[in-house]
Symmetry: D2
Subunit: 286 residues, 4 copies
């Protein structure tokens, strides 16, 4: 597809709540001569097999909204960034861990418990402290560090009241003692765009920026870059952010299939939106 | 792997609630000299990357329990029937429709609405009568035939009260007028095991056996067999049941990744459990 | 308590989302020399038995937020408008109907079904068309007119998926054929402040202003005034709005314990907020 | 009403899941010549204003099923044990605390927070350790002892995911250091039937029998008896169990409006079911 043919309808950005990221993407595409179709998936029904743009950037914040937007566009033959398979493989942490482990990557010691009874057994096997989180949810929400029996009973009872099997499912992991930070790396088309540390806030053991963590850019070593590219491929992701824990070596833990990158740009000065726009242009020219 | 090596630990049956199906599978495996490991996933935590049997039959009734059981076993290198990818592609009807359509198969005219507002617009586009269903759930549950505005407002308000994005998502489809029945076909390893009609009960427009439909075996024609095998491959399913609607030709609609087959055996006299056990044996010998 | 003593701390307005109603109330109080304490219950914890103002106007939109705000203030001896008992008696329609019927007032023929199984039996007893609604919720939400079996099965299945016993509870009522409108009357301190009809929108059988109904003021006859005052007393409400259905005579149906009155003021030109403020002043002087 | 007139239809026992308690009640009534009508509220719709027995024993385990059963029977003029008002006042712990405090009884220092934001403020005001529980739920479920910030953030995030305002409401209380037990007393018709200690299990800070606590009968002193009778009256309960915490004096905390008494009979040897049956007989004779 030659650039000359790049028309308005060749690229689409689908979103639910427009964040800075979506605005930067649209601006970068526009600066390259691509005027994307903007689709707010909260207002418009998505039709299977209808005519759709060649390339669809899938940006809804809600995981299932993102996955469904991608799936419907794939039924029309569109190239989706990311694919519905990648979005689901990243959006559900049981699937992510399974894909990472299947690809031979190192993950924290992890178990899945599908009931409260099974979670109690998993706790005995793992020992305290441990981390318990449900398969879905972002920004560190419900990710709990459990150090004693009172805390664990309270958590189990609360999770048992949740209304879906996904939120009643426990991923139980060894607690990896990191140097007060974790690593986030963005991968696009098999290339590392940059890396940042997220230094956790005092009084908070999690390193999510949403929970006050401070982002600082750094240059990743070759090993780190390599495992992050492998992780992206393990989940079939074209444009993802990869979370890594450091201790005695690296542990892969989570991958985000609809990556936020506002804090990343600030920390690394890398213009991620422009990288993405240029990649879209390369795809259109294929 | 030679049959002589087939030991206790080579095959595992994972389930939550043991139904007749699971008992028949265990009996068939046993009759072939395979004593499967039985794992009740409601009681036992599932460990990533632990030693696991070569072949794992994934039989939990709950979709996410099935998908997670498969995913964890895949991290150990086990061959899962079905894979976590197939179970999720079948268990979520948006993904199923996208896979079927992407494979060039005919589906009913369908739309996805991610909000109540978008569903109202989809209703206007589709016109009455229409079918509205959420992406997840089995046995026909919440699948609604909507013929007028009062019914549709009630449905939209009820779905808006659901607590997950999945249950607040609407798949809106044209209503296919069938001859009072639908078709269910079981596919195993690219082969059709048999076919049955499900004649719907009076006062019920859905053809689910759980809703009183009567199952009657029949011999499928070549076209029907072919599209069902294609449907199984579209979702990467090894052992699935495929639901087909007949009107002016066939419409593919749903695929089940953890197929029930009690009614199917009664209607077709085909020993599905033995077919499955023999397939497992072939996999072990590969 | 003499007016001279009326200080800042003598009257409190508690709310979650400030609507026009709350602003009008504060303005009316201020015009009478009362500067109320404003408490946003979404931000401030409520302490049992702490010093609290003499009179508390309970205005949160959420029924339980309203009831809990009232209850905590009552533990401090405050006079609440309305009391927690009245708010709960109005906020839960099973309790409302029971109180109205116990007071000898005429209600539509009504049944309560606590399960799906019991609802099916109730439908048989009632016959179509019928009205089905859960005990809680406002603005007509989930209030369904059921005319045929397909609609009723869909509704039952949806309600069965709700996550609380309250939303899984069915109030099943005969459908009262009204002249395309219902009646809303506001009662304060055993006096009728006015009355309005709510003419339902075309294509909508419910008469809620939130659903497009048009409000028109009228002068109520003596019988109507009398039963509305009785209804207010039945639920122990000091300041309530009463919903009445007209057919062959009047049927009492619902009472609102935290009444909205924006549309009422427009329709009747009665300054409800000032009436309320003057009542508060009378209470302070008692 | 003379005993001679006591017919089958004069007494009704309403229940959802028949426990030992309900069987003992029916047996005791029968031994006194009363053959109660048994109504399983999961199967039968309840009709407002229909002919109903004179006395209705309200025994559903689910709080709202109990409250609704009582309310509907009250609309027919039946005397309910307990009344819907008492069941709701006991079943919702915000209301219970408010009624107890309003009656001048001593309660633990308590606050209500209606949002996560307000709960954080309440935690600061209360200091650790503290107890956090939602207004509804029995058997100690979700009652959490919070000693540090990690546990509290996990709890707040989990509660924020709950699907009702009631479960998102926090009752935050000072932690009362008891001698490893709490006190449960059953009151019937202004008389104390007996008292038991519930000694909490090791590794569990709550004293619920469902959580392994051991019940031991004892003779309550006059002060204790008196405050429990006052507590019963505060919630308008005829037949209730009262939970008391001992530290430097007594704290009233919870009242149960549909009391279980299996463990109580074992610990105190008091035939509670017979006491209740005799009370019913006295009511019938009034």
């Amino acid at each position: 597809m030659s650039r000359g043919k790049a028309s308005n309808s060749n690229v689409e950005v689908l979103y639910d709540i427009p964040r800075l990221e979506e605005k930067l993407i649209v601006r970068a595409l526009t600066s390259l001569g691509i005027k994307p179709k903007l689709t707010t998936v909260k207002e418009k029904p998505l039709l299977f097999k209808e005519n759709a743009p060649s390339v669809c950037l899938i940006r809804p914040m809600s995981m299932y909204r993102a996955a469904y937007s991608a799936a419907v566009r794939e039924s029309s033959g569109s190239f989706t960034i990311n694919s519905s398979e990648a979005i689901i493989a990243c959006g559900d942490k049981v699937l992510t861990l399974a894909k990472l482990a299947s690809a031979g990557l190192r993950i924290p010691k992890s178990m899945v418990a599908l009931t409260m009874q099974s979670a109690e057994e998993a706790y005995r096997l793992m020992g305290f402290p441990l981390v318990d989180k449900p398969p879905i949810g972002g920004w560190g929400r419900l990710v709990s560090l459990i150090s004693d029996e009172a805390a664990y009973r309270s958590l189990l009872e609360h999770r048992e009241m949740m209304t879906t099997q996904q939120l009643r499912t426990h991923i139980i992991q060894e607690y990896i003692r990191t140097p007060g930070r974790d690593v986030r790396i963005i991968v696009l088309d098999n290339e590392v765009l940059g890396a940042m540390y997220r230094y956790k806030q005092e009084n908070e053991w999690r390193s999510n920026v949403a929970l006050g963590a401070k982002a600082v850019g750094f240059k990743p070593d070759e090993e780190l870059s390599e495992i992050c590219i492998k992780a992206a491929n393990a989940v079939k992701g074209v444009f993802v952010s990869v979370d890594v824990l450091e201790s005695d070596g690296y542990f892969l833990n989570e991958v985000n299939g609809v990556p936020e990158f506002k804090a990343f740009i600030e920390a690394t000065k890398r213009n991620v939106a422009m990288d993405l726009a240029e990649y879209v242009l390369r795809v259109l020219k294929r």
